[in-house]
Amino acid sequence: MKAKFLVPLAIFLALAGFLGYGLTLNPSVVPSPLVGKPAPAFQLAKLDAPQETFGVDDMRGQVWLLNVWASWCVSCRQEHPYLVEMAGTGGIPVIGLNYKDERQAAIGWLRAQGDPYLATVTDEDGRVGIEYGVYGTPETFLIDKDGVIRYKHIGPINRDTVQKVLMPMIAELSRAG
């Protein structure tokens, strides 16, 4: 048995190890140091009206969601119907953070997919994204009335996330204070 013929096996076993470990990970759960901390402040231009700005302070006193998305992001398309549904049933305002995107592409995307956002702000160079510790799109932050981040979800949300995680937390946070 010559050593070089064992190379494929070795590579495969390493790969299988990673895959096995990957099964124990949930790609959408990431401990965020930001949970429990005030949401980093921003004042960014609105997507549909670049001369106006919008910031965290405008949402003070409300429980709200900050959804980080981009038109180039495939998974955003997957979660979008649930955002539209949540926005449609009232309940909770959703603010969009359009991340490293082109304005025209983003506007076109919202036209085609539906616009669930109370307001969308543009983070073209991704600077605000860095402050929020954004790994990739989509990510969703739940922020309470005092502007404190209560929960962070990485990856597309789905019906389970909405019903089992977000809705109970939102109900609780809305009751409080």
Partner: protein, 657 residues
Amino acid sequence: MIAELGHFALILALVLSLVQGLVPMIGANRNRIALMAVGRPAAQGQLVFLVISFACLTYAFITSDFSVRLAAANSHSQTPLIYKITGVWGNHEGSLLLWALSLSLWTVAVTVFSRDLPEAFMARVLGVLGWISAGFISFTLFTSNPFERLLPAVAEGRDLNPLLQDPGMIIHPPLLYMGYVGFSVAFAFAIAALLTGRLDAAWARWSRPWTTVAWVFLTAGIAVGSGWAYYELGWGGWWFWDPVENASFMPWLLGTALMHSLAVTEKRGAFRSWTILLAIGAFSLSLLGTFLVRSGVITSVHAFAVDPARGLYILALLVLVIGISLVLFAWRAPKLAGGGSFDLVSRDSSLLANNVLLAVVTGAVLLGTLYPLFLDALNLGKISVGPPYFEATFVPLMVPVVLLMVVAPFMRWKKDDLPKTLRKLGPAFGASIIVGFLVAFVIDHVTWRTVLGLFLAAWVLIGSAQLLWSRLAERPGAAASNRLRGIPSAWWGMWLAHVGVGIFVIGVTMIGSLESHTDVRMRDGQTATIGKYTFVFQGVREVQASNYIAAQAKLQVFKGDRLLTTMTPEKRNYVASAMPMTQVSLHIGPLRDLYVSLGDQLDSETWLVNLHIKPFISWIWAGCILMALGGIFAASDKRYRRLAERSAPAAAARQAS
């Protein structure tokens, strides 16, 4: 009752697959003809039961039997019949059943078409296929039973995901699965070769048509899937480097390498262990694709159900199948060395170079697909790898592949003369550079990407024309029609597939360079112009189908003053799932597609409309069709049948001695 019947048939199929995996293998080891002969009837019986099982599940969908959990979750009483049927495989459980069914079809095809294989070799091939089948059927039965009941039954089903209610989705999964699973035949041949130590030109000749046909299915399946993404996802892209797309693309890349490596093994007896490794690799990547899609380790648009038990089961299957075959490879492959020597300048070495490049490309795509997982596992953070990575690695690696692709057929086996080859191809090379620049100037888009793409396309097409010409010049005396007829269909297959690559490159380059689009607000009677085309908005009306209500816009399209066509994009609302869907309207032309999708309604009469011109996009599909056609020509070459007949007695004699 019918569902239980299907369940029972599936259990019987599992039993037969175990018989097929075990008995012929034992027979081959002990040289007992009677035991070896069990393989064929076991495989054929398995197909019968899988067909029954599949038919039962389809019946539950067609009759809207919502006491079957799967039908309740993926069908609806008002869904059109065709989508009730395709709903059978538009979900995790059903698609696994389809996987098992395809495998069984391939296995039976082997028993029918490779009747002339030596009995012991056939027994081992069927044994390997039997084990794979047992793995997948048991996976279906134990973790993903499609026949599970939902009691009490629900009154109405949740309907098939509207994205999947589309003609493309009718044939995309079956084609793709036939391709994926088809590599299992090449794999089984490779394992049988390792087990027997028999790996010669005859072996390569047996494997070639099977590999090529699987590759044809995979090519067609990927092309249809890409076409579906293009018009159904409503944003006009045709390839996203999504993990699941990559999962189908990696076996294709390695399968392409395998086809060419098999050619060398057949003609020259060289690259034996490399060919075996590619055969194992192509099928392993098919399995890996199944794992990635089914386990949810990577987030993707396609990921259906996520269930750790399922992921673990497939991983175990993966480790068993690939692990055992690679151990076998490490043990037996060193003895397979051999084959003729060849020079640095020869067809052998240029095919080897292309092989290695294709394997490296596959590795790069694999790395990009799994990179988020690696980083996550090593606690280095979570990232997503996007198209920029893939484009930055794929293009530079594929450029030499396309360059060599044209050179190799001009070269002689074993040894060729470099200056002579350069003289032969120099003019074509120069002409291609000129054509690349000229066309880029004419379309007024001189970027290095455009020039490179057009140069490569010209290189392939001019080179192919020259190749055909020199082939015809080989028999100067004969009439042109006779000369054409004298060329074997395997050669035509190679030629067509290579031309297909050229056409494909034109499509990709042009769409990347000249695509244009605009979003406009439109109300009754308003016009918008993009390029040479004027669109006149003629209002929106409500259209009702059995399972959705749609707002359908009507746009007249004028080119100059001439009415070209009327386009009707829709915004659909599917009743059962309450999912809004954009249905684009396409006007397909040889040089451009017009692509219109309907956006939001702004007020009672104003709508947003997205207008796109997609130049040359049809050339992408045309290129894929040519590649697939080439595969069909190559696989249907007469000599596979003739030589199989001739070699069988000789092989039998060898076995006996």
